[in-house]
Symmetry: C2
Subunit: 378 residues, 2 copies
Amino acid sequence: MTPVLKSVQTTLTEGVIELGVGHPTLDMLPLTFMQQAAAHRFAQGDPSFLQYGAEWGDGFLRTELAAFLTGQYAFPVDPEELFISGGVSQALDLICAMFTQPGDAIIVEDPTYFLALDIFRNHRLRIVAAPVDAHGLEVDALAALVAAHRPRLVYTIPTHQNPTGATLSAERRLQLVNLAQEHDFLVVADEVYHLLTYGDLPPPSLAAHVGTGQVISLGSFSKILAPGTRLGWISARADRLEVLARNGMVASGGGFSPLGSALIRSMIELGLLPRYIQGLRDTFRVRAAALTDALRALPVTFLPPQGGYFVWLTLPGGLDSAALLDGAVPQGVRFQPGNRFSPEHTQADKIRLCFAYYAEDDLREGVRRLGQALRAGV
Amino acid sequence: MTPVLKSVQTTLTEGVIELGVGHPTLDMLPLTFMQQAAAHRFAQGDPSFLQYGAEWGDGFLRTELAAFLTGQYAFPVDPEELFISGGVSQALDLICAMFTQPGDAIIVEDPTYFLALDIFRNHRLRIVAAPVDAHGLEVDALAALVAAHRPRLVYTIPTHQNPTGATLSAERRLQLVNLAQEHDFLVVADEVYHLLTYGDLPPPSLAAHVGTGQVISLGSFSKILAPGTRLGWISARADRLEVLARNGMVASGGGFSPLGSALIRSMIELGLLPRYIQGLRDTFRVRAAALTDALRALPVTFLPPQGGYFVWLTLPGGLDSAALLDGAVPQGVRFQPGNRFSPEHTQADKIRLCFAYYAEDDLREGVRRLGQALRAGV
């Protein structure tokens, strides 16, 4: 039975450095900024955000968000092509509900964000795995899979991918969109890490291609503000968003969290959101460097991340990551074994480390412990 | 295309009294109480409610809510049997996702809450209609339908039903639970109006029967606090709730709106929630009386509501409510025609009026205009 007083999703074990956790640190969360935003919003004296909200989300937030994204993405974002979601997980659920039938194929990256897979399984989709390399989804291999499986959706994390950290090249982005137009599937681009870049700038967000009607780009306030808001956004052509707004749950309950939306609206109006994101980038840049510097002492290979939360390691000599984890826990360190991210269990010699949760000293100590486990295991 | 600045779900027409709207009035929403709750919560200095939340919802809110419901329901409510939902619409979506297969039968009341039907259709359920009378769902007729259709779910609004206002009798409640045990279906009880009683007290909430494993009772902060929180609760046996927590979206994104949950927790801790509900009851009691008193001058029949939001009228001489609506709009009044609530379109001579949105003078004026339309139509 769940302990009743559990409030946060992940409970850490005292004394163990949990490099598998994919969350920001608790003390980095913007408590003071959100407090200012709440004070600002309540001071307006307008109770509209306590009422049933418009199905597409709060129009004021959509307008503010469009202006914010226009600045961040460096291309125009139209508020009419934004829908406020309950975060990426909810957006994926809604997209599956409205754009798929049970038995439809969905192509995902292998490896991919493992918790998305159960959402697709809940909708009885057939999951087909496509390979990725250092430049993201291998679009040539994808083309063959598309021809064979005729998918309704292709789910990709194009920028600072979870778990590999790879970013889809500009050339492949165009190939992907062309392929989607040719075969009429929807590209569902999970772009939650796009705004968290600390190194080389990625190509433009896939939201640049929503006008084709084949691309749905997902963003989240979980990664650039606070997971507890349970809010994000869906960028797509307006006719696609109209389909989502017709979902029974949305038509009945109205848009997602007008209360949280109103606070985020104030965050943007007060100029706090870009300031907060800049602080995240500064912190994560240092943490990513600390983790990768420490990892260079280990017999592992990896792609240095240019953003996001993660480093993806290849273990030496085909070492099995699940077995390594068994040996690592007594050393006081945990991580995500590779096969969790693989719908076809092809990633046994990989592990995912997160640099978002811990500060530099803990990251270095975690790597030291991982090194001990590796020496015992190799 | 949706006007981008639309923020609330329903936009009213100037000069028209919209007795069809099923919302509370904007100026009744608890802006000041929520402001106090936000100030209280932020003052604690704990950012946990900005982190990913526990799948079952915030443990502190579950504990406070259990104590609150124990007082309101007058029987013990266990926090281990509460799950924080994103409101009833989201709860219905989640229950369908985890407890049904496409093609399963669901039995609903005829008439019922019309917007629930599209949620069931999204999950490809077969909708079967069961009759209701002045004492709620006709359980004998239900028994025959259960034998014929072997439903997975029976969806009922047992107290102050939407749209009829009828309350399921104590005897029928027991029969319903026995039937569910005998035929192993789940009773999904939408009890959003249970705490909004202004007249005769209803029998105990169906949450009293969650221990059987056959009953899932749904509550909502939309009706007793503010729709914009998009939060509610699911009362069920813990093993049922564990199934809901395994949903892919919930496992990925964590519990629903930790931010909103933290504010509601403070509302309860500060004693503001019961005060607010008492104010709602006092207001709605007067409004319900004003509406029903005015209606006695019209050639319609109805069951005087003992709570909830609605009065359900039978029109004279089998008059068609859709045609009447066409005649009513030029008179400056609107309502919900009966067939919107009927999966089998058996309610053509009925209309639903809501007394929650307007104050007494507007309600009386609305009835006067309705009378004009009736005289023109009869």
